[in-house]
Subunit: 360 residues, 2 copies
Amino acid sequence: MLHNELTKRLNIQYPIIQAPMAGGITTSKLVAEVSSAGGLGMIGAGYLTPAQTKEQIKEIKQLTSKPFGINLFVPNEFHITEDAVKSADQLLHSIREQLNVEPADSFDIPEFNTIFESFMEQVKVVIEEKVPICSFTFGVPSKEVIAKLKQHNITLIGTATTVREAVENEKLGMDMVVVQGSEAGGHRGNFIDEHQESLVGLMSLIPQAVDHVSIPVIAAGGIMDGRGLMASLCLGAQGVQMGTAFLTCVESGAHKVHKEAILKGAEDQVTFTRAFSGKWARGIKNKFILDMQEHELLVPDFPVQNLLTQVIRKAGSEQNNQDFMSLWSGQSPRLAKNQTVERLMKDMITEVQKINITVS
Amino acid sequence: MLHNELTKRLNIQYPIIQAPMAGGITTSKLVAEVSSAGGLGMIGAGYLTPAQTKEQIKEIKQLTSKPFGINLFVPNEFHITEDAVKSADQLLHSIREQLNVEPADSFDIPEFNTIFESFMEQVKVVIEEKVPICSFTFGVPSKEVIAKLKQHNITLIGTATTVREAVENEKLGMDMVVVQGSEAGGHRGNFIDEHQESLVGLMSLIPQAVDHVSIPVIAAGGIMDGRGLMASLCLGAQGVQMGTAFLTCVESGAHKVHKEAILKGAEDQVTFTRAFSGKWARGIKNKFILDMQEHELLVPDFPVQNLLTQVIRKAGSEQNNQDFMSLWSGQSPRLAKNQTVERLMKDMITEVQKINITVS
């Protein structure tokens, strides 16, 4: 077995965490299957309302008796004027035309306070439902939130993209930290370092982070199989968090067009864009990304741009049109398979057992 | 021992290759020490004349009886007008002023033919001197060159940054291929894929490359110690090539200011620039990189820009001024140590023996 401080603390069999991908990918079935197979299933609750959050937690409890976790987006302040929203909306006009969708009649700029209240409600739900593990992206929550969750013996996992961010996570009370390498798909979790500075490959990031924190480090980015798990452990991580590998699984709720794009994809087709959400994220290059490239530095910050592109992503999905969907993927699409969670987990463990590097 | 196809073929004890860093870093002493310690020392001959190349090979033979290798830059065609050179030179004017250096009275645009002839002379030297291993960067040499070297039983190692480039190396007859992860310091070796597309982290690049070629894969980028070696082997590589780790060694010819900048550096201070040479390269951020950032896409291609900035880099070195030196480094400066090659190699092997991940 691969027993260590992390598996003990999380009360799981294998140090394999399913990345909490938001936006409908982490179905209750996916989360429960991962946990039942000995890993840690995680709800990506970033876009869920508190009520939906509660509902999904209850649903998963019906499907597995094993521990699972949840990830929340730490709300970030943003500043936006009505004019800026209008011009950002204009930029999307020709794309909406290509998809035959109407712009929203009016667009309410979301209020930070509303988002923050919703986050606090989610925290309440996590406590009420006694979810044993709660992870965070886009920053570290306030002292008060951390203290409250710790009072209820909830294990807290932060996200870092650099050594400095990992150290900050430990200082602020996180029990473990996910280090997100530049290989990782989806949104970047950088919250101190700028985007470019925060793109550190795992071969560099894991050992440097491990040397500077004493909490367990979890590696994330491009890890798809037993090879990646073993490599991460050699570098000093205590576990891995895998997104893309679980995204293409049968049980994931990702759109079939999204799954197919990854299964046919290659590492040199995966790029960064800010245009879908206002936050840098890695995905497979498509028409939307290319068309928006010249504007991407100008679009409003997350979550405003994300709301503006919602109708486009929705229409893209409904029309099975991959040109206008956010096809998040890490840098290892060639290693993706369409398989069950059980198969993925079993093959990983078998593969790990076969890796035998004799040193004498 | 870490025996495999690669160590057998290269006739070395450990699958550790010292990266052939050009520009005076790979002193004869460094190369010989690495080979004597059981790894593979490599001459970075990219900027050497054929005569200098011959001289260094002879010198190393006096220092070690163990095999060592050499790296050559494959010449790339470039197109440049006198006007373009003039305006590129203008951009460097204020920087020369800061360093109190005069511009060259006249500047001869280098001719591709001259560069190519020098390369062919270097190939001749490699054959005459019976250097057993020859590696290439910036592309794959012609069929004729490959055939000639193979006739003399010289083992050929290519460089790739993506799966496609690795496959191309195998197809064109390379015996092994170095996969250069986005973590790597110094110049990028991409020759098919564009810069952005070729930035793949080793956690993704190694297993995907290994799955698509049958020649041995050597991992390069951010690897500094036994942890990185073991991780690379787990991912399927047969060996590692390490640059920064050897650059800060006592025996390396790197400028002391360069060594100190790395020893004090952090992973989020290492960035890409085109401004020093006209080719993308990774190094520690300094005044020159920041000042030139807005122009870097406009500067002439390698090797023209490299020649234009020569006087600046030289003055920077002479004045111990790190603001104007090319401080190439991979993404793991926090793992760098100022130590002897022997110490580095011994510690790596000891560390590897200590990594013990029990799987049952």
